[in-house]
């Protein structure tokens, strides 16, 4: 899984810590999400997408 969270974060000039605060998770969770090392629940994906004003399928890209 690839994500465009970093790209969108840069667009809105948000640090990982600030985004984590907005979503209500730890900074490490955002880091793992950006690296595609953690599969989020639908709720978390929705919250991240909402914080970055994007759709879920714009942020999370699946290879197959």
């Amino acid at each position: 899984m690839k994500t465009r969270i970093r790209e969108y974060r840069a667009k809105y000039n948000l640090t990982q810590e600030k985004l984590a605060e907005l979503v209500g998770v730890r900074r490490e969770t955002i880091l793992f999400l950006e690296q595609g090392k953690y599969n989020p629940s639908l709720r978390l994906a929705h919250n991240v997408a909402k914080a970055l004003h994007a759709a879920i399928d714009e942020l999370f890209i699946f290879d197959d």
């Binding site: 209500g24 998770v25 730890r26 490490e28 969770t29 793992f32 953690y38 989020p40 629940s41 709720r43 978390l44």
Partner: protein
């Protein structure tokens, strides 16, 4: 909130144990415990110092904690089983301590089931129906609760018997009869569902909604 309370409880218990260990002059164990607790809670501690509040316990942290608790249980079960076996062999109480053998076997079986659940749960989960999955979880919970109840009963039985001076019957019966029986039921039940899930190639068609089958 539950996670924060659990963390606080672990911290307080660790602190009491460290004080107890220092008073018993077991300095190395106390240091090892303190270092272990510091390593486990370093992120929370750092966040607490920097922002004066605990960090959020999000879904990733919760999942990690569940995995750690499961690993801890496996370690505890295997270590207890080995300890019990060694005590039995060394003291040559084989004829008198049958309960120890039963408990050792159950602990080993418990460790095995939890090891299986840790390794194969992802493979078993999609192949079980919703009801079967619920029953598997219930059996695993029964086994885990019975283990805790059994160990606690043995400790409480010894404490009460030691304090009163008379052989205490309630905790003894729970520890020797009820807890092993419940643990046995939990383990056998979970194993049955595990084997069912592992041996099944795919979820039976009956689980599909009726409308979809009619359309197909």
């Amino acid at each position: 909130m539950k996670m924060k309370r659990a963390l606080l409880a672990v911290g307080i218990i660790a602190l009491v144990l460290i004080v107890l260990l220092v008073s018993l002059q077991e300095y190395y164990v106390a240091i090892a415990l303190a270092v272990g607790i510091f390593i486990i809670g370093r992120r929370e501690l750092w966040h607490l110092i920097r922002k004066r509040r605990l960090p959020p316990f999000d879904e990733r942290v919760r999942q990690n904690m569940v995995k750690s608790a499961r690993n801890g249980f496996i370690f505890f079960a295997v270590a207890s089983a080995l300890l019990m076996l060694f005590v039995t062999i060394n003291l040559n109480y084989i004829a008198n301590l049958k309960a120890v053998h039963v408990m050792s076997g159950l602990f080993l079986a418990g460790g095995l089931v939890y090891l299986l659940s840790y390794i194969f749960y992802d493979r078993v989960e999609p192949k079980l129906r919703e009801g079967e999955l619920r029953r598997l979880k219930t059996f695993l919970q029964v086994a885990a609760i019975a283990t805790g109840a059994g160990v606690s009963s043995f400790i409480l039985h010894n404490i009460v018997s030691g304090l009163v001076g008379v052989e205490e019957p309630v905790f003894f019966l729970i520890g020797v009869l009820l807890a092993p029986a419940a643990m046995g039921v939990g383990l056998v039940g979970s194993l049955v569902f595990f084997i069912k899930g592992l041996s099944r190639k795919q979820l039976p068609e009956i689980d599909q909604p009726d409308d979809e089958r009619i359309q197909a």
